[in-house]
Symmetry: C2
Subunit: 103 residues, 2 copies
């Protein structure tokens, strides 16, 4: 199983509309990916490691797929559409990472 | 539900012993946290967003608890022990983040 993570760095003064993300963007992504998307997860950053420190990421979204190939085949055709929806919830540029689920 | 993430940044020349982490460190953490730990997840970074780019994090570990208070109460007393085990699998300094699970 692989996990494609979209991580939005905390940026002072830049907002993130979690309601829109959870109610509009993520369901749209899930629907477009179809059966290739085995699971989807979203978190809101609330704190960093040091006392009073902001979180590194204000929001993170994760898509779980059977393989990198399955993810790319399902995600690739919709990238432009997913990107076009981003300004509706944030102007923060996300960091992307593909990981292999070990546990 | 909250998620405490320990993220190890990819650092050229610094290794990460995933076998030790999964077979020794994580089970030890899970055992020490007891019933406060609702779930635990581990991933190995395999790629970044751009073609050929390394992952931002070479490894990530996540602890799920009912609340920040439950996490702190369970994790706090064992921090020194968890840290002392780190050199057994990596010399990379991790980034810590606490998040609220939304989806």
């Amino acid at each position: 199983m692989i996990k494609a993570s979209v991580m939005y760095p905390y940026s002072e003064g830049k907002g993130f509309d979690m309601k829109y993300y959870c109610e509009k963007h993520v369901p749209m992504v899930k629907q477009k990916l179809g059966s290739a998307c085995k699971n989807i997860a979203v978190e809101q950053g609330i704190a960093g490691g040091a006392p009073g420190a902001p979180p590194t990421y204000v929001a993170t979204g994760h898509i779980y797929c059977e393989s990198v190939e399955a993810f790319q085949a399902a995600f690739g055709p919709h990238v432009a559409e997913f990107r076009a929806d981003m300004p509706n919830y944030t102007l923060i540029q996300p960091i992307i990472q593909i990981s292999e689920v070990k546990i």
